[in-house]
């Protein structure tokens, strides 16, 4: 192991490798800034060139492009309320209200720093767990994954402490929508009503953009012509990015806990960053002292999800490298690139190619630092966008949203889904229904159902007696009971 470390260190700290890393970060930041497009697109475009490079340089470039995606997708989330990718959705909750108060710079400062540190903690956590990973994944079988998915859905649906019924309904609806298409077990088409577009299910991006982005854009333009996003307040000294840094320092323990949540969730196949961000956010809400400000611009609502997001990335890499299980579409592409470079994800990456795995770990660490530094340097300029007239930004953002939705499957259906869900999103927002559980339900559905069936097919009923399953089940029940009790206490108090 030690000589692999030495080799890896030698391979990465050369001028050309660092140049590739920085180049990747730079490129990823430019393209990743556009909502809906992201590291995956950049990688797809560059794939023909990447495969001609030597494996170490190629990996370094790939990590660079990928690493900044999780940091840069926060930028449109904070500035416009449009998540750059689904992993930035939780950051919108408090990041966007902060921008409206004129604190966009502070939000971004906190977000970038949290991303950076979260990514580091994630990388080191995963590194430390590598010896344990194989036994861990082997003990954690299909039944355990299923229960974890259920627990995640329940926890997130019940984040809406004050309206648990609505949260559960929306979560259930998300699960049901995720079931449209072919059933993973039987291959039978469900609820596709003979529409070819629906046979793969409705893609996530048009729905997420429709439900979140478009209602926010509509509300953004509520003021008179000439309003700015940051109409809510003057720029004061507490709104600078350095205040964001101070916030992170003040809430360092939340940052660490969120990073751990992210790393552990990221290691579980399939569960990934989409759930990690909400779990971290929910944890911040539940553990926070004054909760009223959440959703109105509380910086803790930015720190927690961003740390978890980048931390879960490390777990994602670990799964992909050590087991060949890509946790996201981008990881699938990265795996494909690795195959073309002659590297097969799997146990060999921890034995024959260990030094390349360590090159990736190093790159993750350094890319995180570079990405944080780069974004941090331009925070003031980016925040300046909130001073532009809203009505000038609106049409351009609408165009980008439509394009981002369309490029999911390049089908008219994407636009229909976008429009349909934007109507639903507007209605939900106006009538007080929480939107996040819908997305989480959709994301986790396939996983939950797949693992459910594999579990019952392979284990019969004996899976219910497995110790970890029992623990997870207990946790789920406790979460529901706790939420209901909190809700009735709130009602009784009033």
């Amino acid at each position: 192991m030690l000589d692999a470390v030495v080799t890896a260190t030698g391979e990465i700290f050369t001028f050309s490798r660092m140049a590739w890393l920085f180049g990747g970060v730079l490129l990823g930041s430019v393209i990743g800034f556009v909502p809906g497009i992201g590291g995956r697109t950049t990688l797809a475009i560059l794939l023909p060139f990447i495969v001609k490079m030597d494996p170490a340089s190629a990996l370094v470039l790939i990590v660079g492009i990928h690493a900044i995606g999780n940091t840069a997708d926060t930028i449109p989330a904070i500035l416009f309320g449009i998540p750059g990718s689904t992993s930035a959705t939780a950051t919108v909750m408090d990041g966007f209200p902060m921008a409206k108060k004129g604190e966009a710079e502070r939000a971004m400062g906190a977000s970038f720093l949290s991303s950076g540190i979260g990514g580091l903690i994630g990388a080191f956590t995963v590194l430390a767990t590598i010896p344990m990973i194989r036994p861990l994944i082997l003990t954690f079988g299909n039944p355990e994954f299923f229960m974890t998915a259920i627990l995640a859905i329940v926890m997130i649906a019940l984040l809406t402490g004050g309206a648990p019924v609505k949260g559960l309904i929306v979560g259930g609806l998300g699960l049901l929508i995720g079931m449209i298409g072919d059933a993973p077990q039987t291959g039978v088409q469900r609820w596709t009503f003979d529409q070819l577009y629906l046979s793969d299910g409705i893609p996530l991006i048009p729905i997420a953009l429709g439900i979140f982005a478009i209602p926010e854009l509509i509300d953004m333009t509520l003021g008179a012509t000439g309003t700015r996003i940051a109409a809510g307040g003057p720029i004061t000294s507490i709104s600078t990015k350095w205040q964001g840094v101070k916030d992170v320092a003040a809430h360092w323990w939340l940052l660490v806990r969120s990073s751990f949540i992210g790393s552990w969730i990221g290691i579980l196949p399939g569960i990934g960053s989409s759930s990690a961000i909400w779990l971290a956010y929910g944890h911040a809400v539940q553990s926070g002292k004054d909760k009223e400000n959440f959703g109105k611009g509380d910086v803790r609502g930015v720190i927690a999800p961003e740390a978890a997001n980048n931390a879960s990335d490390a777990g994602d890499w670990c799964l992909t490298l050590a087991f060949g299980i890509p946790g996201s579409a981008t990881m699938s592409l990265i795996m494909a690139a690795m195959l073309l470079l002659g590297l097969t994800p799997g146990p060999k990456m921890l034995t024959d190619h260990l030094h390349l795995t360590l090159v990736i770990v190093w790159s993750l660490v350094l890319a995180n630092l570079m990405a944080t530094g780069l974004c941090f340097a331009f925070t003031r300029q980016l925040a300046g966008i909130t001073k532009l007239p809203v009505h000038y930004l609106f049409p351009v953002l609408i165009v980008l949203i439509f394009l981002a939705a369309y490029q999911s499957t390049a089908d008219w259906g994407d636009l229909v889904a976008l429009l349909g869900f934007s109507v639903i999103g507007v209605c939900m927002k106006r009538s007080g229904w929480p939107r996040p559980p819908l997305i989480v339900g959709m994301v986790l559905q396939r996983l939950a159902e797949t693992y459910f069936f594999l579990t019952t097919k392979l284990y019969g009923y004996s899976w219910l007696t497995r110790p970890i399953v029992i623990i997870l089940f207990g946790l789920t029940v406790w979460t529901i009971v706790h939420a209901v009790r909190r809700h009735s206490k709130a009602k009784a108090r009033a």
């Binding site: 299980i325 097969t344 994800p345 499957t409 390049a410």
Partner: protein, 345 residues
């Protein structure tokens, strides 16, 4: 004065129009050789970037151009959806028929043809096939500690009511088709648990003991779990390519142990393992020939072969003309079509 100007204008317009018509006709009738210079050929991949047929499309885009006279530019366009069906529909009906559109043919299309799926807006045998560059022979193996260590052992276990549990991805995936083919051809009974998100999850469940074995693409097995072979953790029962694999010379091919009357089913299975490309019907014959020849030339390219090896496939060229005939035969092969229908039921 004005009428003269007007006449001039009319003559000039007529001359321009005639010139345009002639140049257009000339462009249309451009000889195949000079046609491809400066052109862009779009390769339609039936999956999203990083997905199954995407690697195939990109492989072609990297190596094909230098063998085509004129060296046209090759770009990959992803049209995901319905496991390659939407891409195939597009290719057949909407893509230009002048030789600038190529598509990857997903194996699921054969199944849908067998099912006479109304969503199909094409006839499989009417595509202009470019060729097949590789096939994915599969090893079928079980964990050594199971009582299923040979075909006879499985038959014996079947009589006692026991079936080996195999893991598979989607129903149309090789991991399911191959065991089903074995059932039909060898008369054994297997329990295939499909719905696994990916190949890695199946391997993990084999390691956990939840599964007994699987059908696994040859290259992929060596790339991911060669240590299983070294430690004798698994026993390979059969290989589904036409020849034995030189790395495991003692493993018989399915063809060797199949009873004679079941051999037509082998054709069905081979068709599902192929990696093929096609163009829409109606591409001018001279351009078709140029591209098919270029395809065969690419096959001899060392760099191309290295890339194919990296992806874990075996290079196996089938020229476009032969492929067209094969597909035509397959579509009319009732035994094979019936088999496909049974798999998807």
């Amino acid at each position: 004065m004005e009428s003269k100007n007007f006449r001039n204008a009319v003559v000039a317009t007529l001359a321009l129009a005639i010139g345009l018509i002639f140049s257009l006709r000339y462009a249309g009738a451009q000889s195949g050789e000079s046609f491809f210079k400066g052109q862009t050929i779009t390769i339609i991949a039936g999956s999203s970037p990083g997905g199954g047929t995407d690697s195939l499309a990109r492989l072609l885009s990297r190596h094909f151009s230098k063998h085509i006279p004129g060296n046209p530019k090759l770009v990959v366009s992803n049209v995901a959806g319905a496991a390659g069906l939407i891409a195939a529909n597009n290719l057949y009906n909407r893509a230009p028929k002048d030789g600038t559109a190529i598509g990857t043919m997903a194996t699921g299309l054969t199944f849908r043809t067998a099912l006479r799926d109304p969503a199909l807006k094409f006839q499989l045998e009417k595509f202009t096939y470019l060729g097949q560059i590789a096939s994915e022979g599969n090893f079928v193996y079980v964990r050594s500690e199971t009582p299923f260590g040979s075909i006879e052992a499985i038959k014996k276990a079947n009589k006692e009511g026991k079936k080996p549990k195999f893991g598979a991805q989607a129903k149309e995936h090789n991991s399911n088709v191959v065991p089903m083919a074995m059932e039909a051809i060898l008369g054994i009974d297997v329990d295939v648990v499909y719905g696994y998100p990916g190949t890695a999850e199946i391997l993990l469940d084999i390691e956990r003991g939840a599964l007994d074995g699987r059908a696994h693409a040859r290259g992929s097995l060596f790339a991911t779990r060669s240590n299983w072979l070294e430690k004798n953790f698994i026993k390979v029962l059969v290989v589904t390519s036409p020849q034995r694999d030189s790395r495991l010379p003692n493993v018989p091919t399915l063809e060797e142990i199949a009873p004679a009357d079941k051999k037509p089913l082998l054709e069905a299975m081979y068709s599902v393992q192929g990696r093929t490309f096609a163009m829409p019907p109606g591409v001018p014959p001279d351009r078709t020939k140029i591209l098919r020849d270029a395809f065969a030339a690419m096959f001899k390219d060392k760099e191309f072969q290295q890339d194919v090896d990296k992806l874990g496939w075996n290079d196996e060229l089938i020229r476009g003309e032969q492929l067209n005939k094969k597909v035509e035969d397959l579509v009319h092969n009732e035994l094979a079509m019936g088999f496909f229908r049974k798999i998807l039921q």
